[in-house]
């Protein structure tokens, strides 16, 4: 089952909860029968200042999203875009075989939040013009 590290992250996630003033929000899952992950980003000058998550899912899903947030905090958007499920898995140490997909899902959630940030930026620039 889960190792102590994963359980500790799950029990006490550092980045759980929504975020007021987030300027990039991404959501994955949500079709019937799957986990739902939502990532909130606060981006300033191309750097991710804050990253939060909300997750409906297993212990692994919660731990994966928390670690994803931890890994992208303080990083540039380009660096964050390169975050992979494998990076998350490495940080967690190990996961049961049937739970590894949650790391990929977390990666997709991060990408979706970054995409949302760019969309908002584009809209803001258009509005300004």
């Amino acid at each position: 089952m889960y190792n102590k590290h994963v359980l500790a992250i799950f029990q006490n996630p550092q980045n759980a909860g929504g975020m007021k003033g987030a300027n990039g929000v991404g959501k994955v899952g949500g079709t019937s029968c799957s986990d739902v992950m939502k990532i909130y980003l606060l981006v300033e000058d191309g750097i991710i200042k804050e990253a939060h998550f909300k997750t409906f899912g297993s212990c692994a899903a919660i731990a994966s999203t928390d670690v994803a947030c931890e890994l992208i905090k303080g990083k540039t958007l380009t660096e964050a875009e390169n975050l992979t499920g494998a990076d998350i898995l490495q940080e967690l140490g190990e996961l049961p075989q049937n739970k590894i997909y949650t790391t990929i899902l977390a990666e997709q959630a991060v990408k979706s939040a970054i995409e949302d940030y760019y969309k908002r930026l584009e809209k803001m620039q258009k509005d300004a013009e």
Binding site: S32, C33, S34, D35, K54, T55, F56, Y101
Partner: protein, 405 residues
């Protein structure tokens, strides 16, 4: 007679209370049962198949256990009890064994959508052999539809297998009616009564049951032991051959200590049924009142009346079951989820699905099951931790009260 259950554990430098609320998964072995078993390990250790006195002494132990099991379910004859390795084997033996023996009459079997995996998988294996299987639907409370049974019975139907009590939601089925209908069409009736023994009265003669599966470890007996009741005159092909044990129906040296314990456990289960059930009923009400008082957006699954007292299934909206189980476990509270998670989806239980419960709600379902040692203090602690855990998970859930599907 004391009940020895560890209720504390050490985590780091703190002592955590331990509360076991998973009695439907398994029970501890009661001291009365354990005392019955102990001499069979090193004093009365003969092989029941041996002709000498050591063998005869072991046989006497098994005979007494067989009588006790037979009497607990009111079997006409003790030789209608076949000891097995547990409920799974008894179910498999009944379904495959009967199907193979009656293939000449027909190859159609009727069961339900909410059976235990061992029944479903035995049926699937038969399907691959060319048998036809009909899975009866259940209503929203998990009760098997009797009208659909009437519709589905055919000339080539050889067996109806419907569980007595569902393991996930605790719903009690209309066994007597189902057996009667099957018999009117000349069809045999098997029931998986693993969760029913000790919870409801089982009388194979009155209920017209042809075959019935039971297990020791659900009733404070040892693991790895169970029995199939098979009415005399019914043919069955053995699953395990290679010995003359159990009248040639089940090969293998008899597990004397476990069988001795099983015999005692069934005797106690029936002897104490009324008292146990009264206690469990009080615990159930106490638990449900407290949960309802502290947690909103919940759904209690199963039939409000036709149910056993020891099992409660609750869906907590906006929360996923496994994470709730793990949070409770970290606080020393042991429960069970209904959903089994497969590769890349959270797969809700087949039982809840058959009851028409939406996937997202089914995913947040926890089974709490109470037993002999469950106290009000246990419930107080468990509900306190449950309330905290649900609150915590809801605070980080992206599914909002307004956005619930």
């Amino acid at each position: 007679m004391g009940i020895l259950v560890l209720k504390l554990s050490i985590k780091g430098d703190t002592i955590v209370k331990k509360v076991y609320l998973d009695f439907a998964a398994t029970t501890f072995v009661s001291s009365e049962v354990l005392n019955e078993m102990l001499p069979c390990f090193n004093t009365i250790y003969g092989n029941t198949s041996s002709l000498h006195s050591f063998g005869r002494d072991a046989s006497a132990i098994v005979d007494r256990a067989r009588d006790r099991v037979a009497s607990a379910i009111n079997a006409k004859n003790s030789n209608e009890i076949y000891f097995t390795s547990g409920g799974c084997e008894a179910n498999t033996m009944a379904i495959k064994g009967i199907a193979h023996s009656y293939a000449g009459k027909g190859k159609h079997i009727i069961t339900s959508k909410i059976e235990h995996q061992s029944v479903l998988e035995a049926c699937e294996a038969l399907k691959a052999e060319g048998y036809e299987i009909t899975y009866l639907p259940v209503d929203e409370n998990g009760i098997v539809s009797v009208p659909s049974l009437l519709r589905e019975l055919r000339k080539d139907t050889i067996l109806v297998s419907i569980m007595a009590v569902n393991n996930e939601v605790g719903t009690i089925q209309n066994l007597k009616t189902i057996a009667k209908i099957a018999h009117e069409k000349g069809v045999l009736f098997h029931t998986d009564a693993v969760q029913a023994l000790g919870a409801i009265k089982l009388d194979v003669q009155d209920m017209e049951i042809d075959a019935l599966s039971i297990s020791a470890h659900k009733i404070y007996g040892p693991k790895g032991c169970g029995a199939l009741y098979l009415k005399n005159g019914i043919k069955i092909e053995p699953l395990i051959s290679g010995g003359n044990q159990e009248r040639g129906k089940r090969g293998g040296t008899l597990n004397t200590p476990a069988i001795a314990g099983f015999g005692k456990a069934t005797e106690i289960a029936v002897r104490d049924m009324f008292v146990n059930q009264q206690k469990l009923k009080a615990i159930r009400h106490y638990f449900l009142d407290k949960v309802k008082e502290n947690i909103d957006y919940i759904k209690i699954n199963g039939d409000p009346h036709q149910k056993i007292n020891g099992t409660v299934s609750i869906s907590f909206e906006m929360v996923e079951g496994e994470s709730l189980l793990m949070l409770l476990d970290l606080e020393g509270v042991a429960v069970s989820t209904s959903s089994a998670c497969t590769s890349n989806v959270l797969k809700p239980s087949h039982v809840l699905k058959a009851m028409g419960i939406e996937d997202e709600i089914a995913q947040g379902t926890i089974r709490f099951s109470f037993g002999k040692s469950t106290s009000k203090e246990d419930i107080d602690y468990a509900v306190e931790k449950l309330t905290e855990a649900v609150k915590k998970l809801r605070s980080i859930s992206p599914i909002t009260k307004a956005g619930r599907r």
